[in-house]
């Protein structure tokens, strides 16, 4: 491939993979089953120049390839602000870079959660995925194997079908490095949706880029909760793989992922720590005026949209002073439209954002000061990225706050 026999684009991509493989200490290249591309978000002209160069050299993907969110909602473009010069630059760049990846033959999913609707990698298969939440979900919940790929190498793997044998492709690198002990939590707390982004946030904090192992959690946990855990752990830290003993596929027992549990650090997670962590993550105070609700980071699943419809159905309308957003992928949008849920959301003044996300595109209106979310990832990034205050809450608290127009949460949620 390096000699240009399969074209200049393949040769360029193979040079990149070979060099990265050398840097990571890989012994050889392996075949991959699928790729997920993150380089389609617009952070500047450089990424567009690279994508256009690949297109001009004739690049085409050779394995099933999904794409992450872009910086534009192609289905509802009016939702993305294009008022300032910077906003217009980003919106125009976003359209062009999304088109360049489309030209390379990707499946135009434009979602950060391709694993819930578009492609479901099998246990033990090697894949080359970028986007931190998708990486951690594929490795941990599905048991597929991907290293933590970033922008640019993702498409290089997609157009060659190859990846360096390094990192989390290697079984020895998939063992647990630290234990998070949740046994002291009550069954009620273990059932709370907010528990999972908080556990993720703590795991990222303790683990950095190592593999955390949870003990003391239920054997059946809805994958939306595991999605929230993974996304938060890959935001506060760089977690690419977690195990939950008795729940996730590579960890039927503690011994299957940790040879000698007493030789690695153990951190105890209790109700006090959860309380403190939620207070630390939230930058707004109880009773603040609420400007916006942001759900669906990572992109909402069909079940999450249904839960929101159920939550909104029994109670009063949301306050007219609050903007209510839920982000999802276009495949889920279609399914939820057919099921009648999207019409119900629109009837409740909820704006459905697709193809992008309220924290990567300019969705929040000027003057937005306080946002409530059920996403640990949004809570981690939004204060710095968007300059707004944020509160991490349960779905029920998000809806309740939206009805009152004021930030409201249970300050003693984790005890009892």
């Amino acid at each position: 491939m390096l000699d240009g026999e399969r074209g200049e684009a393949v040769a360029l991509a193979m040079r990149l993979l070979t060099e990265l493989g050398r840097i990571k200490g890989a012994t050889h290249m392996i075949d991959i089953e699928s790729a997920h591309i993150d380089g389609c978000i617009f952070y500047g002209q450089a990424g567009l120049d690279y994508a256009n160069k690949l297109v001009s050299l004739g690049a085409k993907v050779v394995v099933p390839t999904t794409v992450n969110v872009g910086s534009m909602d192609l289905i509802h473009p009016g939702l993305v602000l294009e008022q300032t010069e910077h906003e217009r630059t980003v919106a125009n760049g976003a359209r062009k870079i999304m088109q360049a990846y489309a030209d390379m033959g990707v499946n135009q999913t434009w979602t950060c959660a391709p694993y819930q609707a578009d492609v479901r990698p099998e246990f033990g298969k090697d894949i080359a995925w970028a986007e931190s939440n998708a990486i951690v979900f594929a490795n941990s919940v599905l048991g597929a194997r991907t290293d933590r790929y970033g922008d640019f190498m993702d498409i290089a793997s997609a157009i060659t079908g190859k990846a360096p044998y390094a990192g989390l492709h290697i079984p020895e690198n998939r063992v647990g490095h630290l234990i998070l002990d949740c046994t002291s939590l009550s069954d009620r707390v273990k059932d709370l949706d907010i528990l999972y982004p908080l556990l993720g946030y703590l795991a990222g904090h303790y683990a950095g880029t190592k593999n955390p192992v949870f003990v003391g959690l239920p054997s059946e946990i809805h994958e939306d909760k595991l999605k929230a855990l993974g996304a938060a752990s890959a935001s506060s830290g760089g977690v690419g793989l977690f195990h939950i003993v008795g729940c996730t596929p590579e960890a039927p027992t503690l011994e299957s992922v940790v040879a000698n549990p007493s030789a690695i650090p153990t951190y105890v997670i209790d109700a006090d720590l959860l309380q403190t962590t939620r207070d630390e993550v939230s930058t707004a105070i109880q009773g603040s005026k609420l400007d916006a609700v942001s759900l669906g980071t990572p992109h909402a699943s069909f079940d999450e949209i249904k839960s929101l419809v159920d939550e909104l159905s029994n109670g009063e309308q949301i306050s007219p002073s609050v903007k209510f957003y839920i982000n999802t992928g276009r495949t889920i949008l279609k399914q939820a439209t057919e099921a009648g849920y999207i019409k119900k959301l629109v009837d409740h003044s909820v704006q459905v954002v697709t193809d992008t996300c309220a924290y990567t595109a300019y969705i929040f209106k000027p003057g937005t000061k306080t946002v409530i979310t059920n996403s640990g990832k949004v809570a981690h990034y939004v204060p710095a990225n968007m300059g707004v205050d944020v509160v991490l809450a349960t779905l029920a608290e998000c809806v309740d706050s939206a009805r009152k127009g004021v930030v409201t949460w249970d300050s003693d949620l984790f005890h009892g």
Partner: protein, 142 residues
């Protein structure tokens, strides 16, 4: 007398500049602004410019979109001229490798031993040489 620190070549090239020593890792996504200045308020080198510097630190951290942002700084000629780190940092190296393929620009990145990092001090003049099987940083005597 000049002092030579040997290391491992991660990306290739030759460059000279003034050292900017970072006491803690930095994310090129969010941690460094569009003008190449450290923008993270809690960072000890907050407001220091990376432009044209030999950046010395243990590693980068945070989002893999750091590759994109480093490459954007290269495109605008606002990147460091060389980077000295202690880990085979995939995020930094990816940005540099793709920058070379797209713009034909070199930015040598070398890996040195953690113990050697203390030899570098902000303001020193350093030349970084990185080629196949050989990498060194030459610290000019002040």
């Amino acid at each position: 007398m000049d002092k030579t620190i040997s290391g491992v070549p991660l990306t290739y090239g030759k460059a000279s500049g003034e050292v900017l020593f970072l006491d803690e890792p930095i994310s090129f996504w969010g941690g460094v602004d569009l003008d190449g200045v450290i923008a993270e308020e809690r960072h000890q080198q907050y407001k220091a410019s990376c432009v044209g510097k030999v950046l010395v630190m243990t590693s980068s951290r945070g989002s893999s979109s750091g590759s994109f942002c480093l490459m954007e700084l290269m495109r605008k000629n606002l990147a460091p001229v060389a980077i000295v780190i202690t880990e085979p940092d995939g995020v930094i190296c990816t940005g540099v490798l793709v920058g070379k393929e797209t713009f034909g620009m070199d930015l040598p990145v070398i890996k040195v031993k953690l113990a050697d990092l203390a030899e570098f001090k902000t303001g020193q003049n350093v030349t970084v040489l990185s080629q196949i099987d050989d990498a060194q940083a030459i610290i000019k005597a002040s």
